[in-house]
Symmetry: C2
Subunit: 241 residues, 2 copies
């Protein structure tokens, strides 16, 4: 049975501040935990109702009741694992980089990480105001992709001011992306859900691109940032296939 | 002040069965309600804490407390409106139609409706097992787009068996969509989140298409159905711009 202190320790990892202090994050569910066990990520410890046949030191077999007490999910799924933060790897500038300017919704970030994985984007660069990628809701949406995409939180303005790569920004009123020549190397900046790309970042955008709207009726809404990222990554990559 | 019976009546519209019996659905939030007021949708009645300056017969000014009692949201946003189901309009076969084979997640359906609106898709055809488009969570994700896309729930197998249009199906292992000639008129079928396109529907697919994966590391996950729809609709439409 888990002690009160153990439960409290795990629950505190729900807070961004504590996660970054301890450099540990929580993942739940058999599928995602298995994917991370098979990745380069290092396991800190694992609490499960059924053995995963890993080394006994890291594995704690617990009751369903105890799992409920430590889980962040409404319906816990057999296992909760604590992994170590990966080592930060240097950003590689010889291919397409995706940069996020204050994306706040965990589901959107999770979907974008999954899209980066699909489209072979190795580096995702996030402004410091972007939602934490180790937020449990983000991890739930990434489905294990997080182990295959290197994510760096940086001063985005400084990062963009220092790069010699062309910087593409997604706008409502930019150049038609279908008619724009897109390079293999560059940075694609996606903006905040409500406000788009901020003024400070805008000064570093060399190419404003947009996804044309095809509806013949007047529509007022923009595309969601995750679906816009899907379409733009597809455009950057389609010629390489 | 609202009567117990009024509150009960509105709350019952949270159930699909009751919505379809009454042919009424609930929308919340100033932005979406305003969009629907400006559309062809017919208002049944509106409960609000601030006047919308519409005809007094339909408008009920209520207290914040009463709004809380009828709202389906954790934090109600000033207005709850009840609209009539639109008249079913016949499906038009002279352009691209999107068909959903048992998409179950309300957020996915909402995002797909919004994408149809963006890409000028007039007709969205749903299998009867697809989540109800008047589900409050769907409506929250559509952001008013629902008034610009005609949605029909049909026996999808029968519908596909009767169409003379080419039927494209999204698969993990179909032809590379970037290298496939895509027509202006046709049906694009998207499958269920967990199981993809069902065996019964598969017999009616004339062209299996897939979005290639670009990652060089082994990744096990598929794309989410809404992001896959975004990419495929972009591919169908990009040549027309």
């Amino acid at each position: 049975m888990l002690s009160k202190n153990q439960i409290k320790y795990i629950k505190r990892l729900g807070q961004k501040k504590i996660r970054h202090q301890e450099r540990l994050f929580v993942v739940e569910g058999i599928k995602t935990v298995n994917e991370l066990l098979q990745s380069n990520f290092q396991l800190h410890c694992l609490y499960t109702t059924e053995s995963f046949n890993i080394d006994a030191k890291s594995e704690n077999i617990i009751s369903e009741n105890d799992l409920k007490r430590i889980s962040f999910l409404k319906t816990p799924n057999k296992v909760l694992a604590i992994f170590k933060f990966p080592e930060e790897t240097p950003i590689q500038f010889n291919r397409l980089i995706v940069a996020l300017d204050d994306v706040r919704d965990p589901g959107n970030l999770g979907t974008i990480i999954r899209l980066c994985d699909w489209f072979g984007i190795r580096d995702l660069v996030c402004s410091r105001q972007t939602v934490d990628c180790y937020n449990p809701k983000v991890l739930q949406a990434t489905m294990g992709s997080i182990s295959r995409v290197s994510i760096n939180y940086v001063d985005l303005e400084l990062f963009l001011s220092e790069t010699s790569l062309p910087v593409f920004g997604a706008y409502m009123n930019g150049d038609n992306v279908y008619k724009t020549a897109l390079p293999e190397k560059g940075v694609l900046v996606m903006g905040n859900e409500a406000n788009g790309i901020s003024k400070d970042i805008e000064t570093h955008i060399s190419n404003r691109i947009a996804i044309p709207r095809f509806g013949d009726l007047q529509a007022t809404e923009s595309l969601n940032v995750a679906t816009a990222t899907a379409i733009l990554l597809s455009e950057f990559k389609r010629g390489l296939n």
